[in-house]
């Protein structure tokens, strides 16, 4: 069959071979026949014919070389031979494959990830033209309504501008109520950040007019998660905070995910906000095509100066500025981690390449004699080179395939490991094909270069020398040896650097995990209970609600205790108020001294197992009618009362307005009834004490709420039953962010976990690679010196002296590597200093530990070949020549 020949040269070769054989045999037999006819005996006839014909195999070979696909056949032969020879050197093959796979896989994954996060964090077109406009001055980087409007009217550099406010709404009318991020934006927001919508339309003029503004654009992801990707979504009505809105569009997948927004609605500026001195808006702009940043900057500055001259009262000290909107929203500390990742993977790749080079050179050196023998038997230079080339290619291809696998696995792992909230966009980074190709090429080239070197060198060898010496150290291979020793030293030094860095971060991570939070975080579920300000008409209605929720939740099976609070533990302070003790003059209190204020259910303390130092916890006594009672934390007690007994004293705080329509204002004196030990309120790294005061929700009712539930058994069961139970109390109650307190604690150290895990793994890998390198060099030198060792043995050398012989060079390399490595480690410690928590950057314990580990591993790497050296019998050694 024709096609089989075309596609499978081997099949064609079979039939071709048969044909060739038949053709030549025919010739031979015809000759014999003629010889017989000429009167020879059968024997003579056959011999004469064979003599005249010559070497059958040689003729065949030459005919084959003429054939098409001859090179393919030869290649196939080479591949078979290479596979066989690699199979025989199993240790080398496995190590080289693993090195390639790790080198390729890790680098491709990590560089793809970095590229995705740092260099191309978004998918915006015209990203260079997108800017974020704000006022700088004594406050946040926001802009006031009138300044924004004046800039919008007077400038000629922006194609579009749009104001923007963050916000949250409770969505009802689509399944259970949910709390979702809904941003109010100017109608050109979509022109700036989004192309055409996937479904429906973008905002258009008129959408921002009162009465027509109840329209909303939802993001692709919200459309998928909340509406199941319903294609008929356009025109559907949903309730946002109890008001009906019409869905007019669904955004494209991608760019709209710049913020965690789920929905966009038109921004209506309320009358009371049309001022020049209240900076409250975010603003975005898109430069006109062809306008440079610099041109725009000049004009915006001019307008800003004019506004300051015209309205000196409102604008004193403020200045309108802008910067690239999408340039760089990755927080500095995350970038630090990513660069750390990049640096360490670079080191690993370096070690991997060095190791590969080392192994391949070692193998080439061992094969010097083989090459010499083959060259002596007539193997051509081209043929030898081709053969080594095939072997290197085969190895690279195998390593490449494995490497691609490792790359995809590590990228998936990275995507999962990097804490979501540390990256501005919740994005899943895809593998970058170009990066993958580049790394594959690089590793392939390394394998090729070092694989070919021995072939090129060996194919014009000093044959006599190589054959005579039987691979004993010749001057050429001595410089060889030196190069490989240098490689091993480099590997050891780099491994030390990585190990030290990894060790420091791991210790720091362990310290962070041990941080005392002052509360028991296990088996506690937390949830946000968002509620619009307007749902409760008066405080008594709110009080009723605040009592019912814990009652209902406590009744669920598996719940030990439930409590409401205005702020979760470990999650900041939420409400900060100035405070003073009764009688103390306010000016004695430093002006920036704040206390956190938590209104809680009385069960809050028991639930979190806060430690009571004095007096009592809050309880059922502390209701609306009773005297205001408060529990303060240790820090506040110390700060306000020093050594005096705080019980019975009073702390004065401004009253917090519970509902939007309630009057703000007067101060309340809270009587201290108890003192508790501090609970952690900030991150785990926060190590400064912060004063705090607790009151009951009954005495300080507030709709800003979080729920805490301590479960007896499986928290998942309770978690499932919660939303239903809450809607029983209030049909409009949404539940946001159901999380365990443990997981909150865990995400707080997510970055540290990432750093220490990744660096730890890299350090381990590099330790392994450097050990393999050392092992390779030592066992090669043992193999080389077999004869010498044998002779020494025969002359009566003790095993100790033979061991020393093999260990000496290994220990020397390790020693030099260690010294260089420690120098590098000190540098690494300096780089890491800011990332460490309660660990010194030159931590001697860590350094000592890793030096010990490296020495043990090095001894092991030397021991295996040394044992082989001990077993060398003088007889075998002498015969091995």
């Amino acid at each position: 069959m024709l096609w089989s020949g075309a596609f499978f040269p081997r099949l064609r070769r079979k039939t071709r071979e048969a044909a060739l054989d038949q053709e030549l045999r025919f010739h031979l037999e015809e000759q014999i026949r003629d010889n017989l006819a000429a009167g020879m005996t059968p024997d003579e006839a056959r011999r004469a014919a064979a003599l005249e014909f010559g070497g059958l195999a040689q003729i065949k070979e030459e005919c084959r070389d003429v054939a098409p696909h001859a090179w393919l056949d030869a290649l196939w032969q080479d591949v078979k031979f290479s596979a066989r020879s690699l199979g025989k050197a199993r240790g080398y093959t496995l190590t080289a494959l693993a090195t390639l796979a790790i080198g390729i896989g890790f680098s491709a994954a990590i560089y793809s990830y970095l590229d995705g996060i740092l260099l191309r964090p978004d998918g915006f077109e015209d990203r260079d033209r997108l800017v974020w406009i704000y006022e700088t001055g004594p406050g946040q980087k926001l802009i006031s309504t009138l300044n924004y409007q004046d800039l919008a009217e007077q400038n000629t550099v922006f194609e579009y501008m749009a104001p923007h406010r963050w916000g949250w709404v409770t969505v009802t009318g689509a399944g259970l109520p949910v709390q979702a991020n809904c941003e109010s934006v100017g109608i050109h927001f979509t022109d700036i950040f989004q192309g055409k919508p996937l479904l429906g339309r973008n905002f258009q003029p008129g959408d921002d007019q009162k009465g027509r503004d109840h329209v909303v654009i939802i993001t692709y992801y919200f459309w998928q998660s909340q509406f199941g990707g319903d294609p008929d979504i356009i025109g559907r009505s949903i309730m946002l905070d109890g008001e009906p809105y019409t869905i007019i569009g669904v955004g494209e997948k991608g760019p709209a995910e710049l913020s965690p927004a789920k929905m966009l609605r038109p921004l209506i500026i309320p009358e009371q906000m049309k001022t020049r001195n209240a900076r409250w808006l975010l603003a975005w702009g898109k430069l006109k095509p062809g306008v440079t940043m610099e041109q725009a900057r000049v004009q915006v500055e001019t307008i800003s100066q004019r506004l300051n001259q015209d309205h000196p009262g409102d604008n004193k000290g403020w200045k309108i500025q802008f910067e690239s909107a999408v340039a760089d929203r990755t927080p500095a500390n995350v970038k630090q981690s990513l660069y750390l990742l990049m640096g360490s993977v670079g080191l690993v790749m370096l070690i991997a390449c060095a190791n590969l080079a080392n192994l391949t050179l070692a193998r080439g050196a061992v094969r010097e004699r083989e090459i010499a023998v083959r060259a002596a038997l007539g193997a051509g230079r081209g043929r030898l080179v081709r053969q080594f080339l095939t072997e290197s290619l085969l190895l690279s291809a195998g390593g490449g395939v494995l490497g691609v696998g490792v790359a995809y696995a590590s990228l998936a792992w990275l995507n999962q490991l990097v804490p979501k909230n540390y990256i501005p966009i919740n994005k899943y980074v895809e593998m970058d094909g170009r990066v993958l190709l580049f790394v594959l090429g690089l590793a392939g080239l390394t394998a090729l270069a070092f694989g070919l070197y021995p072939a090129l060198k060996g194919s014009r060898p000093d044959l006599r020398h190589s054959l005579n010496q039987g691979g004993l150290a010749s001057s050429g291979s001595r410089s060889h040896q030196r190069f490989r020793r240098a490689l091993v030293i480099l590997e050891i030094a780099l491994a030390i650097v990585l190990l030290f860095g990894g060790g420091l971060l791991l210790r720091s991570f362990a310290k962070l995990k041990e941080v005392q939070t002052g509360l028991n975080t296990t088996h506690v579920i937390t949830a946000g209970l968002p509620s619009g300000n307007l749902r409760f008409e008066n405080e008594d209605q709110l009080r009723g609600y605040l009592r019912k929720i814990p009652e209902r939740v406590s009744a669920l099976p598996g719940v030990r205790e439930a409590a409401l609070t205005t702020c979760l533990p470990l999650r900041g302070i939420n409400i900060g108020l100035p405070f003073r003790a009764v009688g103390s003059k306010q000016d004695k209190q430093p002006p920036d001294s704040f206390t956190y204020f938590k209104a809680v259910s009385p069960s809050y303390f028991r639930l979190l197992e806060l430690r009571l130092l004095r007096g009592r916890f809050l309880d059922a006594r502390d209701t609306k009618g009773a005297a205001p009672a408060a529990v303060i934390n240790e820090t506040m007690a110390k700060r306000l009362f020093g050594d005096h007994d705080p019980l019975g004293q009073s702390v004065v705080l401004p009253r917090v307005a519970p509902l939007a329509n309630a009057a703000p204002g007067e101060e309340i004196a809270w009587e201290v009834v108890g003192v508790v030990a501090d609970e952690r309120i900030g991150g785990l790294r926060q190590d400064f004490p912060f004063p705090g005061l607790y009151a009951t929700l009954d005495q300080a009712p507030m709709p800003l709420l979080f729920l805490l539930v301590r479960t007896t058994g499986d928290p998942a069961l309770v978690q499932r039953a919660l939303p239903q139970a809450l809607t029983e109390v209030d049909a409009g109650q949404a539940v946001a962010d159901l999380l365990s307190l443990d997981s909150i604690k865990a995400t707080m150290i997510g970055k540290e976990r990432l750093d220490s895990t990744v660096l730890g793994i890299f350090a381990g890998v590099s330790l392994l690679l450097s050990a393999l390198g050392l092992y390779g060099v030592i066992s090669y030198s043992v193999a080389q010196r077999t004869r010498e060792i044998g002779i020494r043995g025969a002359l009566g050398a003790t095993s100790g002296s033979i061991l020393w012989l093999t260990f000496r060079s290994g220990l020397l390399m390790t020693g030099v590597g260690l010294l260089l490595g420690i120098a590098g480690a000190i540098g690494a410690g300096r780089i890491l200093a800011t990332m460490l928590f309660q660990v010194d950057q030159f931590d001697l314990r860590t350094l000592a530990a890793i030096v010990a580990v490296q020495v043990v591993v090095a001894l092991l790497a030397c021991f295996l070949p040394a044992r082989r050296a001990l077993k060398v019998s003088p007889l075998v050694a002498l015969r091995c020549e």
Partner: protein
């Protein structure tokens, strides 16, 4: 690696083969016999050169091969000239004539 080379220049052997094949389909053994007969045993073509040459010419599409029964009744590989082969033969023949004419000229001049 070294192969037994015929004393003939390679191009010359190719030309001779094409010439012998030109009259009609003929198998390898017959070609070698014919070459010897025509040259009255002066040209000893070794099989080591003949068969690779045949395969090479076939590869260049100057010869075309088919399997047929020989006089002896056994199946043999017969070679025939293709159109391209015929053209090649003409080119080589005229080249050869020019060359040999020139060589003869030189030899005569030298003698004189």
């Amino acid at each position: 690696m070294s192969s037994p080379k015929s004393d003939l220049l390679q191009g010359t052997l190719d030309m001779l083969i094409l010439k012998v094949v030109a009259p009609g389909a003929i198998h390898g053994y017959a070609i070698s016999k014919r070459l010897r007969q025509i040259s009255q045993d002066v040209l000893q073509i070794q099989q080591g050169s003949l068969y690779p040459a045949l395969h090479r010419l076939e590869e260049r599409k100057w010869l075309q091969a088919e399997w047929k029964d020989a006089e002896s009744g056994r199946e043999a590989k017969f070679y025939r000239l293709t159109a391209a082969g015929r053209k090649q033969l003409e080119v080589e023949t005229s080249n050869w004539e020019r060359l040999s004419g020139a060589v003869a000229q030189v030899m005569r001049t030298h003698e004189a």
